[in-house]
C-alpha cells in the first residue's frame, strides 16, 4: 500500500471518477425510470378522487325531507311571531294567475278580487323577456311611480298599480312598459281612461274602450285601465307592443258592470273620442252620479250629450230637481212626452238644455247653442231613431 502523506495544507485537485461499472449504470437508469413512474403515478392519482369529500351528495339530503318535530323555524317563517304586514306571510293563493296563460276568466260573472296584488306580471309571449321585477303600488304610494298624475287616479278610486318592463329580444335596447291600474269598479276605470284619452288616438278592435297612439295602447278592460307603452318606434318593438296589448286584453277579464249608462250612449253620430265619465255632481247636480257624456254630430252641429242610468224613481226625482234648478237660473219649459219619456227644455246662461227622463234613464243635451237641434236630437233618440 502506497503511503502518500497527507498534504499539510491546501486543497488538492478535484477528482472526477471516470470508470462507472455497468451495474451502477443499470441501477441509475432503473432509479431514474422509477422516479418518473412515481411522478406519473402521483399525477394520475391527483385526478382520481371522490367528489363526495368536497361537496354534499344530494342523495344524502333525503334524510332531511321531514321537518323536526317540536322545534320552530325562524321568526320570519313563523306567522305567529311576526309583527309585520301579514300580506307577505300569506301562502300564495292558487287562484287563477293572470299571467300564467291558463285561460282568462272570460265570461266569469264576478271579476277577480284585487287580492291578486302580489302576483308577478307574467306574459307568456315569445320575443320578450322581463327586464326587472314586477312593481306594485297602492293608492297611497302611487305618486312614487306617476308623480303628479296620482291625484287624478285617486279621484277615481284607484286600488293598485301593477307594472313591469319587458325587453324586446329582437331589438337591443328596446323595451315595453306595461301598466295595469286596477280600480274599484269598471266604471271608475273607464272614468280615468276617458280623462286621459288622447283625442288623436285610433280605435281598437279588441277593446271597445280603447285607442292606440303612436307608441302605445290604452284601454279599459274590466276594472283595469291598461297602458302598454313602447320605448321607441322600431317595427319589432311596435309589433310586440301590440302583441302584448292583445295578450292583456285576452288575459284580463271582461267586465262592464256599472257601465250601463255607457252602453246607453247611442253610437250614431258620436264623436268617438268624446266619451267621458263623471263620477258625481255632473251638471252641478248632486244627484247626478255615474254620468256618461259624449258629443254628437247632429244636423251639422256638435251636441254635448249626457246620460245617467239609475232607479226610475230616482231618475224622475232628479229630472224634476234639475228642471227646478234650471227654472231658477234661467227659463225652463216642459215639452210634450215622446215615447214614454218626459222632456223639458231650458235656457240657462245663454245655452240650451233639453233633458229627458224615461224610466231609469235620465239624459239630455246640454250647452247647445241651437235649441231646435237639441230638441230634435232628443226626440229622435227617444223615438229610437238614434241608436
Amino acid at each position: 500500500m502506497a503511503n502518500e502523506k497527507k498534504p499539510a495544507a491546501g486543497n488538492r485537485r478535484e477528482f472526477v471518477r471516470t470508470h462507472v461499472p455497468l451495474a451502477e449504470r443499470v441501477a441509475s437508469a432503473i432509479i431514474v425510470v422509477l422516479l418518473a413512474a412515481i411522478g406519473l403515478a402521483i399525477a394520475i392519482k391527483g385526478k382520481h378522487f371522490n367528489p363526495d369529500i368536497f361537496a354534499v351528495r344530494t342523495d344524502s339530503l333525503k334524510s332531511t325531507t321531514a321537518a323536526v318535530v317540536g322545534k320552530g323555524g325562524t321568526a320570519a317563517s313563523m306567522p305567529e311571531t311576526k309583527t309585520e304586514n301579514p300580506v307577505a306571510a300569506e301562502a300564495p293563493k292558487p287562484a287563477a294567475e293572470e299571467g300564467s296563460g291558463e285561460g282568462g276568466a272570460e265570461g266569469s260573472a264576478a271579476a277577480p278580487k284585487p287580492a291578486e296584488k302580489g302576483q308577478p306580471l307574467e306574459i307568456a309571449l315569445a320575443g320578450i323577456k322581463p327586464m326587472s321585477d314586477t312593481e306594485f303600488y297602492n293608492s297611497d304610494n302611487l305618486f312614487e311611480k306617476i308623480d303628479g298624475r296620482a291625484p287624478a287616479y285617486q279621484g277615481f278610486n284607484v286600488q293598485a298599480l301593477r307594472c313591469r318592463s319587458f325587453n324586446v329580444l329582437a331589438a337591443a335596447g328596446s323595451f315595453v312598459d306595461v301598466y295595469e291600474y286596477r280600480f274599484d269598479s269598471p266604471v271608475d276605470a273607464f272614468g280615468m281612461f276617458a280623462l286621459e284619452r288622447d283625442p288623436k288616438g285610433q280605435p281598437l278592435d279588441f277593446a271597445p274602450d280603447g285607442y292606440s297612439g303612436e307608441m302605445g295602447y290604452f284601454y279599459r278592460q274590466g276594472a283595469v285601465y291598461v297602458q302598454i307603452i313602447a320605448s321607441d318606434v322600431k317595427p319589432e318593438t311596435l309589433a310586440l307592443t301590440k302583441a302584448i296589448a292583445l295578450n292583456r286584453a285576452k288575459e284580463l277579464p271582461v267586465d262592464d258592470h256599472g257601465l250601463a249608462g255607457r252602453r246607453k250612449l247611442p253610437a250614431a253620430g258620436m264623436l268617438a273620442d268624446s266619451v267621458s265619465f263623471v263620477l258625481e255632481n255632473a251638471q252641478g247636480q248632486s244627484d247626478f252620479k255615474d254620468v256618461f257624456q259624449a258629443k254628437y254630430n247632429f244636423d251639422g252641429a256638435v251636441l254635448p250629450y249626457f246620460i245617467m242610468v239609475t232607479q226610475p224613481d230616482d231618475a224622475a226625482k232628479a229630472w224634476k230637481s234639475f228642471q227646478d234648478f234650471c227654472a231658477r237660473f234661467g227659463k225652463a219649459e216642459v215639452l210634450p212626452d215622446v215615447n214614454g219619456g218626459k222632456i223639458f227644455s231650458a235656457q240657462v246662461f245663454g245655452k240650451w238644455k233639453v233633458v229627458y227622463q224615461r224610466e231609469g234613464e235620465l239624459g239630455g243635451v246640454f250647452d247647445a247653442t241651437d235649441a231646435g237641434k237639441a230638441q230634435a236630437f232628443i226626440e229622435k233618440y227617444l223615438r229610437g231613431e238614434i241608436k
Binding site: R17, S28, N50, I53, S60, V68
Partner: protein
C-alpha cells in the same frame, strides 16, 4: 466545481441522487402548495408522512394499529433494511433542505482540511438515539411525541404554520385567498431558522444530532446487506472521502452503517477508486450497530416515560380539560388523540377557514402544536371534512360529510358536535345594549337553528321603546361549529362562545343525557317525554 458535461456522468449514482433530491423536494413543495381546497383533488398530500417509518412504528405502539395509508411506510422500511439510510439523502425533504443549506452556507470555500474535519464522526451524534429512545419510551407509556423532531412532521408544520403565511405576507394572496394566521407561529419559525442555521457550524446538524427518524433508520440499517465498503488494499488514507461525507459515517476507517446516508459522495471523491457500494462486505470493516452509551439510553427511557407520566398526571387531558380544547371534526377522544397526533399540522394547512390553530399548553404538555379550533380566527364550515382527509394517523378520522352532518345513512346517529355555544348576555347587543342584532341566529347553519330568538319590547335609556329579538341557545341542536362566535360583532371576546363540553367524540364530555346514543332527532323524541 467544474461543469464539464460527460454523458457517463449522468448515470453515476451520485448524480442520480441529486436528481432524486430535486424530484422529492419539489414533490414535497408541490404537496404543501396543493393542500388547499382549490387544488387538492386526489393528490396524496400526506404521502411523505405516510412513508415515514417512525410515524407508523410509533403509532403502532400507541394505538396497536397501522392506520390506513401508513402501510406505505413498508415501502421505505424494506429498502432501508437492505440498503441503509437512503431516505436521509435521497428522499427526506428536510434532509435535502439541510444538505442544500449546508452547501450554501457551510464551509464551501473554506479549505479542504476544515471540511474534512467537520465531517468526522462526533460522539454528539449519538444524541439522536437517546432522543429516539425517549420518544419510544413515551409511546410505550402512552403518548405520541415524535412530532416534536420527526423531520417530515417538523417540516410540514413549519411550512403550514409559518413559512407559507410568511410568503403570503410578502406576496399577498399567492398562497391563501386571505392572509392566514397561526397562534404562536413565531416559535416554530425561529426553531426552523435555528435548526437550518446550525448547518453553518455543523453540516447536517439536525440530521446527525437530533433526527429521531434518522436514528430509527440508522437502527434498522444494522442489518443491511449492502453498504459502502473501503478496499484497504487500495486506500491511501488521504481522508478525501470525508470532504463531502454527509452522514459523518467515517468511510475512511470502519464505516458506521447507522450513520451513512448512502449519498455516494465518497465514492466520487476517492482518487484511488477504493470505495464502492458492495453486497455483504466483511463485518469487521464496519461499525454495524449505532453506538449509544448505555447509561444515557437509560436516562432517555426515563425521560420518555416521565414525559408520559408527568404529562398525564397534570390532568389536562382528563378531568381538568381546558374548555378551549375544541378538536377538529372527526377527532378521536382526547387520550387517543394524544396517542395519534404527530403534530404535522396538515389539518391546519388544509383548513379553508383558518380556524385550526397549533395549541400551546391548552391540552397540557403533550398537546403542544396539536390542532385546536379558535373561533375568533375562523369557524368550521359545516360541509367540509378536509382535515380528516389529510390526517395520516387517524387522530382525525377520515369521516365523510354525511357522517359529520348526520344525514343520509347517518341520520340516526346525528351530527358530530365539536362543542357547545354559550351566550354571554352581558356582552350581547340585544341583551345588554338595547341594540338589535341576532347575527348569530342568522348564520347558524343547522336546521332547525340551534339559536332561536324571542321578540321583546324594552324601553331604552332615552325613553323610547324598542322592539328587538333576543337570542337563546338550544344545546340539543348546537354542533359547535363556531360561526356564531366568529360573526358576533363583539369581536374582541364574542358574546357567544363555543367551549368543548358537549363534544360527541368523548363520552365523558357530553352535555346532554341521551342514553349514550347521540342523535338530535332522537334526543328531541326523548325530550318530549
Amino acid at each position: 466545481m467544474k461543469f464539464k458535461f460527460n454523458p457517463q456522468d449522468l448515470l453515476k449514482l451520485r448524480n442520480v441522487r441529486r436528481v432524486a433530491q430535486v424530484f422529492f423536494f419539489s414533490l414535497f413543495l408541490f404537496f404543501v402548495f396543493v393542500t388547499d381546497l382549490r387544488y387538492l383533488k386526489g393528490y396524496p398530500v400526506s404521502l411523505f408522512l405516510e412513508l415515514d417509518p417512525l410515524v407508523s412504528f410509533a403509532t403502532a405502539i400507541t394505538t396497536h394499529t397501522v392506520y390506513m395509508g401508513l402501510m406505505w411506510s413498508l415501502l421505505l422500511i424494506l429498502p432501508t433494511l437492505l440498503f441503509g439510510r437512503i431516505f436521509c439523502n435521497w428522499i427526506c425533504p428536510y434532509g435535502i433542505l439541510h444538505h442544500f443549506t449546508g452547501w450554501l452556507l457551510g464551509k464551501r470555500r473554506a479549505n479542504e482540511r476544515e471540511r474534512i474535519e467537520s465531517n468526522r464522526y462526533k460522539k454528539l451524534y449519538s444524541l439522536k438515539y437517546i432522543i429516539l429512545i425517549a420518544m419510544i419510551a413515551a409511546a410505550v407509556g402512552g403518548t405520541l411525541q415524535i412530532g416534536w423532531l420527526d423531520p417530515i412532521c417538523l417540516f410540514h408544520r413549519s411550512m403550514s404554520t409559518v413559512i407559507l403565511p410568511a410568503l403570503n405576507l410578502f406576496f399577498p394572496s399567492s398562497i391563501y385567498v386571505r392572509q392566514y394566521f397561526h397562534v404562536g407561529a413565531w416559535i416554530i419559525g425561529f426553531l426552523l431558522l435555528f435548526l437550518v442555521g446550525m448547518n453553518v457550524l455543523i453540516p447536517r446538524f439536525f440530521c446527525r444530532v437530533l433526527c429521531p427518524l434518522g436514528a430509527f433508520l440508522g437502527t434498522l440499517s444494522s442489518v443491511t446487506l449492502w453498504r459502502i465498503d473501503r478496499d484497504p488494499t487500495k486506500c491511501v488514507d488521504c481522508d478525501l472521502c470525508l470532504k463531502n461525507c454527509e452522514g459523518a459515517s467515517d468511510p475512511q476507517t470502519q464505516l458506521r452503517k447507522s450513520e451513512c446516508f448512502v449519498c455516494f459522495n465518497c465514492i466520487e471523491d476517492c482518487p484511488e477508486d477504493a470505495l464502492s457500494f458492495k453486497f455483504m462486505p466483511p463485518l469487521k470493516r464496519e461499525v454495524t450497530a449505532p453506538v449509544v452509551p448505555g447509561r444515557r439510553a437509560f436516562l432517555g427511557t426515563l425521560i420518555g416515560l416521565g414525559f408520559y407520566a408527568f404529562g398525564r398526571a397534570s390532568g389536562a387531558s382528563d378531568r381538568n380539560y381546558d374548555k378551549k380544547v375544541i378538536r377538529p371534526p372527526g377527532s378521536v377522544e382526547e387520550k387517543d388523540f394524544l396517542d395519534r397526533c404527530i403534530k404535522c399540522d396538515q389539518c391546519i394547512r388544509t383548513c379553508p377557514t383558518n380556524v385550526l390553530q397549533p395549541a400551546w399548553m391548552e391540552s397540557g404538555i403533550e398537546g403542544i402544536w396539536t390542532p385546536i379550533l379558535d373561533m375568533k380566527i375562523g369557524s368550521c364550515d359545516v360541509n367540509c371534512v378536509l382535515c380528516g382527509q389529510v390526517c395520516p394517523t387517524g387522530a382525525i378520522q377520515r369521516i365523510s360529510i354525511e357522517e359529520k352532518t348526520g344525514t343520509g345513512p347517518f341520520v340516526k346517529e346525528g351530527p358530530i358536535k365539536l362543542g357547545t355555544a354559550f351566550f354571554d348576555r352581558g356582552r350581547c347587543l340585544p341583551w345588554a345594549m338595547e341594540t338589535p342584532c341576532v347575527v348569530c341566529e342568522e348564520v347558524c347553519p343547522v336546521s332547525p337553528k340551534a339559536i332561536f330568538s324571542r321578540e321583546v319590547t324594552i324601553i331604552k335609556r332615552d325613553g323610547n321603546p324598542i322592539t328587538l329579538r333576543q337570542p337563546y341557545m338550544d344545546p340539543a341542536l348546537c354542533i359547535g361549529c363556531g360561526i356564531c362566535e366568529h360573526e358576533c360583532p363583539v369581536t374582541d371576546e364574542a358574546a357567544i362562545r363555543v367551549t368543548a363540553v358537549g363534544e360527541t367524540r368523548s363520552r365523558e364530555r357530553r352535555l346532554l343525557m341521551d342514553g349514550g346514543v347521540t342523535g338530535a332527532v332522537m334526543d328531541l323524541e326523548k325530550r318530549q317525554r
